[in-house]
């Protein structure tokens, strides 16, 4: 499997920046096994922590055959290239008012991958003070579509009326 095909397959399955971090950690551990006598022949074990689909792709792409001194250099090069590509993946930071479950994350991720870019990741944040809506940060641009902001704006415009009603 070529390196770009491997990356395309993995990035299609990765949804969030924390998942990318998990993969990067596993790749680092795989590199470490090259220099460890204890884990010789047990390279596939490092991918156990990852979801099955991702683990299977990485095993097929990197560790399907035993790692020997002969193929070690080419595998290391593959790992480095994959690591670099994953590190430079762009992400969108989403702050929402509720704790997202797996289904929500998948929903957001699928929509973004389909409508924006298949290589884009999401970084979900939870902040109940925004009340509703979302804050979006992408490429250094900050957009505030929260209920908190709408309420604050409304209060600023209609302050006197609101205070009058309260009094």
């Amino acid at each position: 499997m070529s390196n770009s095909a491997l990356f395309d397959q993995i990035i299609a399955l990765l949804r969030t920046t924390s998942e990318v971090m998990q993969v990067l950690t596993c790749l680092e551990e795989l590199t470490e096994t090259f220099f460890s006598s204890k884990s010789a022949g047990d390279h596939q074990q490092v991918f156990r922590k990852l979801p099955k689909e991702i683990s299977a792709i990485l095993i097929t792409g990197l560790a399907s055959e035993p790692i020997t001194p002969e193929n070690q250099i080419s595998i290391k090069r593959k790992i480095d290239e994959l690591t670099d590509k994953l590190r430079t993946c762009k992400n969108i930071q989403l702050t929402i008012a509720f704790q997202p479950d797996e289904q929500t994350i998948t929903l957001f991720s699928d929509w973004i991958k389909k409508n924006v870019s298949p290589e884009l990741l999401i970084d979900m944040q939870f902040d109940k003070s925004i009340v509703g809506g979302a804050q979006i940060i992408a490429g250094g641009v900050f957009k505030d579509y929260t209920v908190r902001k709408s309420l604050a704006n409304r209060f600023r415009i209609q302050r006197d009326d609101i205070m009058g009603l309260l009094n």
């Binding site: 490429g139 250094g140 900050f142």
Partner: protein, 497 residues
């Protein structure tokens, strides 16, 4: 200033701190940030954009407290500015116009000006033609300055540089010039001393102190002289002559070097960054004699200070500054230890434009005096053979000794130049033979001059009516008895004229 959230909502741009190295911060994001723009961190700390890269911006932090990786940062859309106005007169502020002391409140001026701007062009400048008095006889007579001149004050530490600056500011403030003292990375006690001096001399209403202490962040310290110059430009545009004292640019260069080395700039000579000359030149180029749009002429005179190490004036920063100023006044450590006050070495000091501002009288006097002191310098070696030396040499040595005594001045004392010229004429005509009597008489004359309007008008008429030194010498000789009796000096017979 607004809050972080307000700036974020307005500009809709955010960055995240990726790395922090002392006062330099690297942040991702902020796609439309511009150079020298002020940025705010989520904790309220401020910084300025130092350089831009494709993925990151380099920020110079203005805070004592470091920021952490992952912290949010946003643009403010404003450049480095200082509030400027007459409200700052008599105050001691930092480069952002905030009071140095927490107990002092300042009415913040409504106008702000950018701290770092390009110097005005040649079309706004005019030849320096007005004389600039320092109140220090030796400088006013031998190394004359002009309004709008940039004169470097150079010397080892503890050689009397600050005293000279005090005297100059005292003299100029009394003449109505606005004096701005920029203390760069000074000790807090030193800043307090300057404040106290301005207060005790009664010139605080004509002075502003812009200072940073050695505890302040390097980024803020670096801005000090630029902020001082911005304030000077404001007062100039308001129709005032301004004196800016920058104490000192050697410290400024060291702070700039620190910032640039942390910012991974390639080190040049003495590890200073390659643009250190440009950094100082664009600052000093903002001083000069200017023609305002209304046709009036106003000057920003600048006295940058630089410290020399062990009398070495050929250092990198020292020679850089010498080449970008219009002369230098050198404080000689050897003269200081010999007891000369001020310890200015007239043979090493230079004034490139000051002479063009002098009257013919002052010009001839200065030439005569310089020529005589040069002669004395050559003959000084003969002083070891006093018994064998001829009467001419002995007389030269004796007169020179009296001249150096005449130049001696207390640290906070300023002298009137016209009076000093008349006293010099008395000295030059050998009225005094005994130095102690001369010093006593000069003291009496100075005191009388301060209190007597008649004495002041006599001195003024004598100096203004004379076109050359010879004319003045003749006039003084003719009216010697009258002058001396007016000043309350007992007349003695002069034998050798």
């Amino acid at each position: 200033m607004k809050t972080f959230q307000q700036y974020l909502t307005t500009n809709e741009e955010i960055g995240f701190v990726e790395a922090c190295n002392q006062s330099i911060v690297y942040a991702s994001g902020l796609p439309n940030a511009t150079l020298q723009e002020i940025v705010m961190f989520e904790t309220g700390e401020l910084g300025t954009i130092l350089s831009l890269a494709r993925e990151q911006v380099e920020i110079l932090l203005f805070s004592k407290y470091s920021v952490k990786a992952g912290m949010k940062v946003t643009r403010t859309g404003i450049k480095q500015e200082i509030p400027v106005g007459f409200e700052l007169l008599g105050k001691a502020v930092n480069p952002f116009g905030q009071p140095l002391s927490a107990s002092v409140t300042i009415e913040t001026p409504k106008i702000s000006r950018p701290i770092d701007i390009s110097p005005s062009g040649i079309n706004t400048r005019k030849r320096i033609e007005q004389s600039f008095e320092t109140g220090v006889t030796l400088v006013d007579m031998l190394i004359p300055l002009g309004k709008g001149q940039r004169e470097l004050v150079i010397g080892d530490r503890k050689t009397g540089k600050t005293s000279f600056l005090y005297q100059t500011m005292l003299k100029q403030a009394s003449l109505g010039t606005i004096c701005i003292y920029a203390g760069i990375g000074k000790k807090k006690t030193d800043i307090k001393k300057i404040e106290a001096f301005f207060h005790s001399a009664g010139i605080e209403n004509n002075t502003v102190i812009i200072a940073t202490s050695s505890e302040d962040p390097a980024g803020v310290t670096f801005l000090t002289p630029y902020a001082a110059m911005t304030l000077a430009e404001y007062f100039r545009d308001e129709g005032h002559d301004v004196l800016v004292v920058m104490d000192d640019l050697f410290t400024h260069a060291k702070f700039y070097r620190e910032i640039m080395l942390i910012g991974r700039r390639f080190p040049g000579r003495n590890a200073y960054p390659a643009d250190i000359f440009y950094t100082h030149a664009r600052l000093l180029e903002r001083a000069g004699n200017f023609v305002l749009p209304n046709g009036n002429e106003h000057a920003i005179t600048c006295l940058p200070v630089v410290e020399s190490i062990e009398g070495d004036i050929a250092g990198f920063i020292q020679t850089n500054l010498m080449s970008m100023t219009d002369g230098h006044i050198y404080f000689d450590v050897d003269m200081f230890t010999k007891g000369n006050r001020p310890a200015i070495n007239p043979f090493v000091s230079v004034s490139r434009v000051g002479r063009q501002t002098q009257t013919p009288l002052r010009l001839t006097l200065s030439r005569e005096l310089t020529s005589f002191l040069s002669l004395h310098r050559r003959l000084e070696s003969f002083s070891h053979f006093s018994a064998e030396a001829g009467s001419g040499i002995k007389r030269t040595l004796a007169v020179a000794e009296r001249i150096f005594a005449f130049f001696t001045q207390r640290a906070t004392e300023v002298k009137n130049l016209d009076l000093q010229i008349v006293i010099f004429c008395l000295l030059w005509t050998d009225y005094w033979q005994d130095i102690q009597k001369m010093e006593k008489d000069i003291e009496t004359i100075s005191q009388t001059y301060k209190n007597s309007m008649e004495a002041q008008s006599l001195v003024k008429s004598l100096v203004s009516n004379a076109q050359s030194l010879n004319e003045l010498l003749l006039a003084v000789r003719k009216q010697q008895d009258k002058i001396l009796s007016l000043f309350g000096i007992q007349v003695v017979n002069v034998t050798n004229i």
